[in-house]
């Protein structure tokens, strides 16, 4: 790791154990990892490897049994559930395997919701949602309900929703799991594009090819432990880093 790069999420020797009937399940068993700003990280593992639990911890949806998790420098165990939710809503955008759109709301309304939780004014929400719909090429689908959209379209709405609060991290849980190969590619292209624009992407997947094809760093998870870590030969995307710098300067203005 190079100096001056910001750590966005850090897990320090994290354990997550829970009881399932009589058995103690060591879902996550001493994991330490750092996610740096601008990285494309994949957490790879077969089912039962603890990757879902790991994702919940990385996404600060869950608190560890032991160990500490830092989200942008804050120890999440010191935050109240509500405050954690607020910070999570601001800093992390979630993309789920099953899209998890709210069925009673239109595509546009689904995108507006995270901004509502951050207390944004309604006209800012509307403008941003329309902008994001354009970005995911669904400008004409804003008033459709999720059940009127195809799987690929739904996942693109979910991506737009994840971007609503301009989060530093996008956390994608099997983003292509419910999609056919072609639409899966489109979704991955979006994620790549977002990474090139400087966003940190954490993807959880069971598909080693997918992980290796897109991620700069892959954490291979097995039985709740990181078995190995692999990096892309050329480290992580230079263009991403440059773009990030530009983006930051732009924001400063």
């Amino acid at each position: 790791m190079k100096e001056g790069e910001n750590i966005i999420i850090e897990l320090k020797n994290v354990y997550k154990h829970y009881h399932m009937g009589e058995n103690l399940v060591r879902a996550v068993d001493g994991v330490s990892l750092k996610v740096m700003e601008g990285e494309f990280v994949a957490i790879m593992g077969p089912s039962g490897s603890g990757k879902s639990t790991c994702m919940n911890l990385v996404g600060s949806l869950d608190v560890p049994t032991k160990g500490r998790i830092f989200l942008d420098g804050d120890d999440i165990s010191t935050l109240s559930e509500s405050d954690l939710a607020q910070i999570r809503g601001k800093k992390i955008g979630f993309i789920f395997q099953s899209f998890n759109l709210i069925p009673n709301l239109t595509a546009k309304e689904n995108i507006m919701i995270p901004m509502m939780f951050q207390g944004e004014d309604v006209y800012i929400r509307e403008n941003k949602a329309e902008e994001l719909l354009k970005l995911v090429e669904l400008a004409d689908r804003g008033n459709h309900y999720p059940n009127e959209l195809s799987g690929g379209q739904r996942q693109r709405v979910a991506i737009a929703r994840a971007l609503a609060n301009d989060p530093e991290v996008i956390l994608a849980d099997e983003p292509t799991g419910n999609l056919d190969t072609k639409t899966g590619h489109i979704v991955m292209e979006f994620l790549e594009k977002l990474n090139h624009e400087g966003r940190t992407i954490i993807m959880v997947t069971h598909d080693p090819d997918l992980a290796q094809a897109h991620a700069d760093i892959v954490y291979w998870l097995k039985d709740g432990k990181i078995e190995k870590t692999t990096k892309k030969k050329n480290g992580w995307s230079k263009t991403g880093k440059e773009k990030l710098r530009e983006l930051k300067e732009e924001r400063r203005k």
């Binding site: 949806l61 809503g89 069925p103 509502m116 207390g119």
Partner: protein
Amino acid sequence: MIIDSFILSLKNLKHRGIRSWLTLLGIFIGVTAVVSLISLGNGLQLAVSSQFGISSTELITVEAGGITGAGPPGSGAVNPLTTKELDAIEKISSVKRATRRNIAAGKLEYNDRVVFGYAASVPSGDDRKFIYEQLGKGAVEGRLLKDSDVGKVFLGYNFYVNKVGLDKEIISGKKVLINDKEFEVVGILEKQGSFIFDNVVYMNEKDMIDLFDLGDKVDIIAVQPVDKNEMDKTKADIERVLRRIRNVKEGEEDFVVSTPEASLASINGILAGVKAFIVIVAFISIFIGALGIVNTMTTSVLERKGEIGIMKSIGARNEHIFMQFFIEAGLLGLLGGLVGALLGTLLGVLGTQGINSFIGADLKPNIDFMLIFFSLIGSFLIGALAGIIPAMRASKQNPVDALRG
């Protein structure tokens, strides 16, 4: 945040199934009952009073006691009133006028059809004028009786519109047989609004005494006091005189002297009971409605566990989730209240119209916008209150468990 929660809740309500709407039935029924009861207002009292024949507020009536429960007033008395009592009452200083009234059951034949009903006597002279004044209105067709009329009758309104069971309405100039004796109909009394007056055959006192062989028997003595503000004193005077004549002790009277106030009071007592009953029913319905909302909201929290998880993962604080479910429950209640208030008002208006056409009155429905406003606020609060516990459960969902579904 609250406005946003309202909008979100409204959207959710829009997608609710019929099951949720059914739970509103309780609140709906409760609010309907209260609003319609108040919209009816005095109409109900007037309708009931008129059914009991209380149209005058200045008449004291005297009847013999020991009524068997069958037949017209006084007819079943063991010891009926007579002209002796009538004369005695007339002599009381606080009594301005005492009028003999007889009511007898009989049969009326017209056009080969027979109906059974009541005939009432009409006194002569000044008393006639007085009674006509009490009946208020004149003849709707033909005329009323005069002192000189013999063998003639006028009829209650229901004969005119044929609500008494004949095959044809009766108009003036027709002949009818009453207890097999022929009488000529001279006219129809205007509608009084109660079968007590509208189903009756009216004939002159002398005809009545002859036809029913009444002798000196009197069914009702209608007393007009000198001062209508001294009803109770007049009543006491009459009671004292009658006790002496009939030789009964105080507390063992075989006669009843009733003032309109007392009759009205007993009717108001009955009505108050009915109203209290309706209010109790309303409150029970509203309580059940509230339980319904607790139930439907609890189910909804379970059904939407995943949604709660999503909301939390994208940044919803516990308050956001709480408010959404809380307001949704309130809106459910409000909706029940809204339908109830509309239907209640409608019932009030229709009911008043019904009473108007029934007793010929001109009442206005009592539409109280404050009442409607407060019943809507109340319904919202009841709904929201019922939603507190489910909303708290929703807000305390762990996002991971909620997402797992």
